[in-house]
């Protein structure tokens, strides 16, 4: 389970990029469940998260994500490693 700060900041990015102010992220949520979350917007989301947390993802890391929970866990792992 990601901490509230990470979860909230990622949710704001998703709402902005997917253009849905009512979107509430759940850890088990996948792209198929969210309108407008396709392969094009997926990379925009990743870039948004990278900018927000000052991180850099690799293609393998992005390709290996299965749901929102995986993304939050990846962000926490990278934040812990970089101290951001």
């Amino acid at each position: 389970m990601a901490n509230a700060d990470t979860h909230q900041r990622i949710e704001v990015i998703f709402r902005d990029i997917l253009d849905d102010e009512t979107l509430v992220l759940r850890p088990e949520m996948t792209a198929g469940e969210v309108e407008n979350w396709d392969s094009i917007s997926h990379i925009d989301l990743m870039v948004g998260v990278e900018r927000e947390f000052g991180l850099r993802f690799t293609t393998a890391e992005v390709a290996g994500l299965k749901n929102v929970g995986d993304l939050e866990a990846l962000v926490e792992k990278k934040r812990a490693a970089s101290g951001k």
Binding site: D19, S39, I40, A60, V62
Partner: protein, 462 residues
């Protein structure tokens, strides 16, 4: 063995019957043997090649684990890409093949499965498969060999050992696919083939008919083939991914590609678009347009190395780039002006259908000049008696069947039945299952007797 031929259906019934009695632990081996038997009816050297690339790909993650350098996967992916590309390229040579072998059956689909497997293992999405039998059964699974759908390894392995599923659902799906193909697609195809065979001498109305009917014919044909593949897979306990989601209801070209040939577009999205887009993400919109264009050109080249397919890909690259680059601005505009939203949806649908239809003219025409001629003569006056020349009876039969097809896919009586079924009395459930089986089998027999000897699917050749 042709999917709409009687021998295939007899073989399918016998093989599925044996599968029902096969012990669970031997079912993957059984699928493997049956799949290779089917492949050998197409080509024995082709089956040997399939086996060779299967062994190579199975070994790749094992070697990668030992070397820890990550090079094996890259080498295998490059080799598989070259293998597919070489056979596609060989079609342009005088012999049309390599060593007497012309484009092995299903080469695109099994190569895509192999590439996705090694990449998914590399990216840590899945564990490498320990059992060679299960892996080889996945790669060679015959219902998905002719034209997909492209099933991912994790989805397939999660269903092993395959368990027998409800027979009525599988037979009904095959019957539905055959109906789409033999009644809707083939009847519409009569007029379409006539027009595309006489582009130089036709003007006006018949060209409009072909312009709008070919997309419908292609959809009924290809989605029918997918239904047969999914239904055949269900007979062996494997549920394949869906390939279509009512593509002609899309109101933008991006939405259209989310609904058309979905197993290919998601495959390309994962293994071509995502790596490219990640590499170009700092280039903003230009990076997005570049990645989208490469993706569409890859789709075009996969269909064949001809000018027509290339124009088809370039047109879609331009349409998609324009759509994705203006998407956010349009979305903001319609949020501010909600009353224009409905107009935009309707005009977006009209525009999308026309873009799809025009691009498909280049997809279907033998030469770019034929396609140009067809489009250039759309506004000329038509010759008298043009409707009779198109084959009025088959045209109306095909159009009526297509309307029924769209209505069934819109209202989905099968989903309604699945919802009310648990509450229905047992005798109603049994009666409905028997009815579905009888209708499916009768339909199959009637269609086969009416369809002539050998019917080819449009997507068999890729």
């Amino acid at each position: 063995m042709n999917f709409s031929g009687f021998p295939y259906l007899v073989f399918l019934a016998v093989a599925a019957g044996i599968f029902q009695g096969c012990p669970g632990r031997h079912r993957a081996l059984y699928l493997l043997i049956v799949s290779y038997l089917v492949y050998c009816t197409w080509s024995i050297p082709g089956a040997a090649l399939l086996f060779a690339v299967t062994v190579l790909t199975y070994a790749a993650p094992v070697l990668e684990e030992r070397s820890k350098r990550g090079l094996t996967t890259t080498i295998v992916v490059v080799l598989l890409g070259c293998y597919l590309f070489a056979f596609k390229l060989a079609l342009l040579t005088p012999t049309h093949g390599i060593g007497g072998l012309i484009l092995p059956m299903g080469i695109s689909y099994y190569t895509f499965r192999l590439i996705s497997y090694v990449m998914d293992v590399r990216w840590g999405k899945i564990e490498r498969e320990r059992s060679f039998v299960q892996f080889a059964a996945y790669v060679a699974f015959f219902p998905q060999m002719v034209a997909g759908p492209i099933q991912r390894a994790d989805d397939f392995f999660a269903q092993l050992p395959p368990k027998p599923r409800e027979l009525a659902g599988a037979v009904g799906r095959i019957g539905w696919g055959l109906t789409k193909k033999l009644i809707a697609a083939d009847n519409l195809g009569v007029a379409v083939s006539y027009v595309y065979g006489h582009t130089a001498s036709l003007h006006g109305a018949p060209l409009w008919v072909a312009l709008y009917l070919f997309p419908l014919q292609l959809y009924a044909d290809f989605s029918g083939l997918t239904d047969i593949a999914i239904g055949s897979g269900l007979l062996f306990g494997i549920c394949g991914p869906e390939n279509f989601d009512r593509p002609f209801t899309a109101s933008s070209i991006t939405a259209y590609w989310r609904r058309w040939h979905m197993s290919l577009t998601t495959w390309l999205g994962d293994y071509v678009f995502t790596p490219l887009r990640m590499a170009t993400r700092t280039a903003g919109n230009w990076g997005l347009a570049f990645s989208t264009s490469v993706n569409m050109i890859a789709i075009a080249i996969w269909h064949g190395l001809t000018g027509g397919y290339l124009v088809f890909g370039l047109l879609h690259a331009a349409f998609l780039s324009a759509d994705v680059l203006t998407g956010r601005r349009r979305s903001k505009f319609f949020k501010k002006h909600p009353k224009w939203d409905r107009v935009a949806t309707l005009s977006g649908w009209v525009l999308t259908m026309n873009m799809v239809a025009v691009a498909l003219v280049y997809f279907h025409a033998h030469q770019i000049t034929d396609a140009n001629q067809l489009l250039a003569h759309l506004w000329s006056g038509s010759a008298p008696g043009w409707l009779d020349a198109l084959g009025t009876r088959s045209l109306f039969r095909g159009a009526a069947a297509y309307v029924v097809l769209e209505l069934c896919e819109r209202y989905r009586p099968d989903i309604w039945w699945a919802q009310v079924r648990p509450a229905a009395p047992r005798w109603v459930r049994w009666s409905m299952a028997s009815l579905a089986m009888v209708l499916g089998l009768t339909g199959i027999c009637l269609l086969l007797s009416a369809s002539g000897e050998h019917v080819r699917f449009l997507y068999e050749i890729f």
